[in-house]
Amino acid sequence: MFYLELLLVGLVWGCTYAMMALGLTLVYGLLRILHVAQATVFTLGAYVGLLVANHTGSLAGAFVAAALAAGLLGPLVYRFIYRPILDKPPFVALVASIGLLIAMEDGFRLLFGPYGLSFAKNTWFTTAVGFGGLSLNLVQVWIAVAAVVLLSLFALFATRTRAGVAWRATVSDPSIAESFGVGVSGVRHTSFFIASVLAGVAGVLVGLLNNLVEPGMGSVISYKGLAIIVLGGLGNVPGTLLASLLLGVVESFGTVYLGKLLDRDAIAFLFLILVLMIRPQGLLGKAR
């Protein structure tokens, strides 16, 4: 029973990672950029969600507002930061992205204070749900539901719609896509929008899960998101999802069995390093 509970908690974490990592992998597949600043989008979503929820009392409104704010910020980051430096060596965009993340984290601290804010009313957090002897709170259930719904929508988008097919074409070869009349620029903006909406929603959910929204909440999850997309095989969507769930579970068991030696983040990165030393191309990546 204990193991099942660990597994379940791990999978729920894996779901939040997946919502973060899917966006990172989209961006990486398209532009070869490690989009660390996704954490900023995530944190912005969480703050906007919290402010709306606390002022209006509506969680639905909070999610919509968070998705919109995040969905706006992401494409702006692409347009004004990444796009002008796409032809530079890869570390340039990475460092710019880290810079943005650090600056914005400090910005959130200056705006909202260093200690974080809590939801005025967080009924999901206090509602326990029984699952044949296992107990989760409602936030955890909603995280799982949201992840499954949003990721399924994405799968439908990628395989069934014109824009999704265009996206996949652009990922595999921008010049081919262009010759089919697919607007590369539109695809890029769309990808940043999708990635950011997912991150914004994930931000609100994690805020609810911890009942705390703080300036630094995005950074660790974003670093782990990067670990996950590397683990899954960069730019590989199924690999990313697999790696997300796997990492959630590894952390959940690891903190129990290795907790005396390493903290949670260290366990995650130890796992990443071990896997990469054995499979340098990631779990589902193709050998280069």
Binding site: V95, I98, I102, A103, G107, Y223, A227, D265, L272, P280
Partner: protein, 279 residues
């Protein structure tokens, strides 16, 4: 006076750290996002030795060797993964170091190691840090002029082509990691004795990024540019006290702006204005 001495000491330490990272990332082309871990390894190893009663010189040397030893291990990792993968792996090395130190009782866990013997006065540490910085500066200039520098350039620009002309790419990567991380260990050893206290948080990801910021603001690959970047980023928060409250905002913003508008940093700016390339 004490204040200026401590600023000078930190400027010296930062020059050592930035130049040592530049050796790995700028010269040899191996991106590292976890350089603070080696700074920390040097600090912790030196602290343990000194607390155990060894003289400071020996402790600092041990710190360098421990950092360099782990650097070699990381260098081996760099043989398996490249570029973006390597960036994430080195970032992981940083988190692994922090997460491991935080949980070890014999390393003081979160509280760190305190009451480290401190045999020198403020003047002594300033002299030591600046002396160390000058030594690493001379080493960097020498490496650049030597055949090692050219071979590093070959590895950084095209590994496969380097192999096909007989360059031992693996050997050079490991050498770069060893030299760079051992130098970071030197900075750590000096730091530990000067502050008499080491805690995990002094060596976190933000510290790694700060070192990287000095390198890229100065101009990755340019020794003199990197020295200027390190000194500038050390002095800036001191000169404008108000910046201290917004230190990360300024650091982050600076990184972002430099990458966005002048990715070659100060060295690139000098090149554009004067037409001369900095060493």
């Amino acid at each position: 006076m004490d204040y200026y001495l401590s600023v000078a000491t930190f400027a010296g330490l930062n020059v050592i750290l930035a130049l040592s990272l530049n050796l790995i990332s700028g010269f040899c082309g191996q991106v590292s996002l976890g350089h603070a871990a080696f700074y920390g390894l040097g600090a912790y190893a030196a602290a343990l030795c000194s607390v155990a009663g060894l003289p400071m010189g020996v402790s600092v040397a041990v710190g360098m060797l421990v950092a360099g030893g782990f650097g070699i291990v990381t260098g081996f990792a760099a043989l398996r993964v490249r570029e973006d993968f390597l960036a994430i792996v080195t970032m992981g090395v940083g988190f692994l170091f922090l997460g491991a130190v935080r949980k070890q009782a014999w390393l003081g866990a979160e509280m760190g190691i305190a009451k480290i013997p401190s045999p020198l006065d403020k003047w002594g540490y300033a002299a030591l840090a600046i002396g160390g910085a000058v030594a690493v500066l001379l080493l960097s200039l020498h490496v650049r002029r030597s055949w090692m520098g050219r071979a590093f350039g070959a590895v950084a620009q095209d590994e496969d082509a380097a192999r096909s002309i007989g360059v031992d790419v693996s050997g050079y990567k490991i050498a770069a990691f060893f030299i760079g991380t051992a130098a970071a260990g030197l900075a750590g050893g000096i730091y530990a004795h000067m502050t008499q206290l080491v805690v995990p948080d002094a060596f976190n990801f933000v510290q790694s990024v700060t070192i990287l910021a000095m390198v890229v603001v100065g101009g990755i690959g340019s020794t003199l540019g990197v020295v200027a970047g390190a000194v500038l980023l050390t002095l800036m928060p001191e000169m404008f006290r108000f910046i201290n409250d917004y230190k990360l905002l300024v650091y982050g913003g600076l990184l972002l702006l430099v990458m966005r508008f002048s990715p070659e940093g100060l060295a690139g700016l000098v090149h554009r204005v004067t037409g001369r390339r900095l060493a």
